[in-house]
Symmetry: C2
Subunit: 443 residues, 2 copies
């Protein structure tokens, strides 16, 4: 029976995180974690919630882009959408005039993510399952039918994707039980933002270890001597066996990245994340090759614009850790495409978390990856940061440094109505006070 | 003496070109050529005009993005901006919150182009020269100082760029005289859009030959037998020695592109343009390799998002013709970076024209390229389409299939005030009538 989409509403939600220097790194000095918050409602009353993610100014541009796309959703039958999700998704990415603004990248693709994620949330709620469970329980045929394979068939055909999923059917129930018992391994980025003092880094690292974390990420790239000092503090605090990753947030030129990392290798670095431009596949391949003898892998992906770029990174040995992003790629189904390509090329998926809502999202993707695709926890870990979880109805939960398997139906992104009211830009109470006090101004 | 930027104004200008099926191709069925039209004004009364380019819906999103960026321009001294243009440009592309929305791609980069192009127009008017002449007369040091080399130094350093420019100083005056006498060679895309009948194609091809054109481009990719029939008509009409290029506008998968072009090779094709995703460097490299024995080159660039992507295309043999775009790259200086990289890698630059205003822009870039960088016309030709030139104060002019050297000061993009009034969306008279008549509706 048809159930028409009645409305696609979007709110501009922002948090004044720059006041705390949470999230500061070599390229993002003062982010205000923000999201366009999408609510899709059908005639029968079904709802789905979705976000995209930005770091402040320009969040309204993504909201506008979502409004521009909404005419492609409103008035359609939600059951027809779910029956052929790949075609629905392509109608969003390939509208014949709007496509010029991308294609499939930047603002417009983030807008697609906001809408697509809301449809997936609705789908999971409709089936009364958390999103990961919806995906895990889908027949391989149906799962693959949600993916648009355009531009990736030279690396992964629909048939190869099916074969991967079918070959992993055995053992799914056991892997689900394992994760239900122990959770999915995480690492924390909350100890070592660039704006933090040495004392704060040491204290936060100790606290995180007490909570069960064994994997830590540090921001680098502004000053080499400073990076060495902070890496030394972290390595001494965490001991020799725990994992240390570093993140340059695209600060370097290709040769500079290689030179800089040679200087940090002594601290036993698992990966260097975003050493240079996120668009530079061949540059990352050169860095990977140069750092391989030092045991340092290259990680990237949080600003990798779409599956076509991931295809090239994976196929050319330009990434040793694949960091999918739930809001920069066009939502769940494009992430599924990348997860399947990563499996084919033998690269572990370690999703990008942090910001607002990203941890809530990626836990579902990692759990699906383990149960249905990779079947391995080797070199797999999902980012965790401690910020802003209090605004969600069903926030991500950690136990012993692992994500606890989400149980609530949906994609875990519904926000509390009190948070929406307080943080909607620029009329929410929190923003009105900050503007009145002269701390912020209307752009 | 300081001369402060007083205002950055933007207008949403759209033309109902879809009513004529001008510009129809395999991916863009019905474009309405459009542009955000930027006017920069200083306290002393200097003005500069700039556009970005879209194909209709979403033009307002780019306008909004220009408004978002305008706070980085208003209040600054225009003379300080011109003295260190590269730093000014980076302040637009790397604003620490806004950068997340790209970086340097799609909507936000098109917005940067609109602003940067307006500043370059102002600069040329201030010097009372057409833009190409401003560039040609600049000392190599100054020219190079306008370019942001971030993320391309592994392919081209500032010093290498300087060496290229210095080595080409000899003969500049002679090359300028040559172009003043004969113009810059063009090819036409106006004969063979997908929506045109066979009779119309033949008639337009004959008319273009009578005007002096010897190079023609045809749209392909929807139906192989149809493409063969149309290529045959064109090849028969133009004769065996004139050049025929074809353009698939990203329609194909990588293996599909190779198979399809093998079928068209009999019509003696100079290049296949945009065979697949504009993001797929390695895919284009595979297609280039497969088609090389057939004498078919790969051309791409009109949707190549920035200099980092061009760097990879050029360095990896993925493009044999480099199609810079004046509005998708972030304006003149990023185009200079690509022109210089193309020189280093020995790839001819054949800019993307058409739409609205693109021909007005690219003539300047091609002329500069020949006089100051490449010094060669081999395999160089600049796209020309016949649409919408009547709206410009100093439109591009053709003579014997060549662009006539522009003489008016500036970057040739100022529009007639009557055109602005008629075509501003949605309040212009033309749009009001189309909306009243039910031909168009407000989104």
């Amino acid at each position: 029976m048809a159930d028409t989409v009645k409305s696609v509403a979007v709110q501009d939600i922002r948090f004044p995180t720059s006041l705390e220097s949470d999230g500061s790194d070599a390229m993002n000095k003062a982010p205000d974690y923000s999201c366009p918050y999408v609510t899709i409602t059908t005639e029968s009353g079904l709802q789905g919630f979705g976000i995209s993610f930005t770091v402040g100014r320009g969040n309204d541009i993504v909201c506008k882009a979502i409004e521009l796309l909404s005419h492609l959703v409103v008035g359609r039958d939600i059951n027809a959408i779910l029956k052929d999700f790949a075609s629905f998704w392509r109608s969003l990415t390939s509208e014949d005039q709007i496509r010029w603004l991308g294609p499939e990248k930047g603002v417009m693709h983030m807008a697609v993510a906001g809408i697509a994620n809301a449809v997936w949330d609705l789908w999971a709620r409709k089936e009364n399952k958390p999103l990961w469970k919806l995906l895990v329980d889908m027949e391989p045929d149906q799962l693959v039918s949600t993916i648009d394979f355009r531009y990736i068939t030279d690396a992964l055909t629909k048939e190869e994707a099916l074969d991967i999923l079918k070959s992993m059917q055995t053992g799914k129930a056991k892997r689900e039980q394992e994760l239900a018992a122990s959770g999915f391994p995480a690492y924390t980025t909350s100890c070592a933002w660039l704006g933090y003092s040495d004392e704060k880094i040491e204290r936060l690292c100790k606290e995180a270890m007490a909570e069960g974390f064994t994997r830590f990420k540090m921001k680098v790239g502004s000053d080499l001597e400073d990076d060495k000092r902070r890496a030394k503090i972290l390595r001494q605090t965490m001991g020799p066996d725990n994992l240390l990753m570093v993140d340059a947030n695209q600060k370097w030129e290709v040769p500079e990245a290689i030179d800089w990392m040679k200087q940090l290798a002594q601290y036993k670095i698992t990966w260097i994340e975003e050493p240079t431009s996120p668009d530079d596949v061949l540059g990352h391949a050169a860095i990977s090759k140069a750092l391989q003898p030092l045991g340092i892998g290259v990680a990237t992906g949080e600003q990798c614009q779409n599956r076509v770029m991931f295809k090239q990174f994976l196929a050319s040995g330009a990434m040793q850790f694949c960091q999918i992003d739930s809001c920069r790629l066009g939502g769940v189904s494009e992430n599924l495409a990348v997860i399947l390509m990563a499996k084919k090329f033998g690269v572990p998926v370690c999703p990008h978390g942090g910001g607002v809502g990203l941890c809530e999202y990626i836990q579902h993707l990692s759990v699906f990856d383990y149960i249905s695709v990779s079947g391995s926890l080797d070199n797999r870990m999902t980012e965790y940061t401690a910020h802003l979880h209090e605004h969600f109805v069903s926030p991500a939960e950690m136990k012993n440094g692992c994500y606890v398997l989400p149980q609530t139906p949906g994609y875990s992104i519904e926000m509390k109505s009190s948070s929406l009211a307080s943080y909607v830009w620029p009329t929410g109470q929190v923003w009105q006070k900050l503007i009145q006090d002269g701390v912020y101004k209307l752009n």
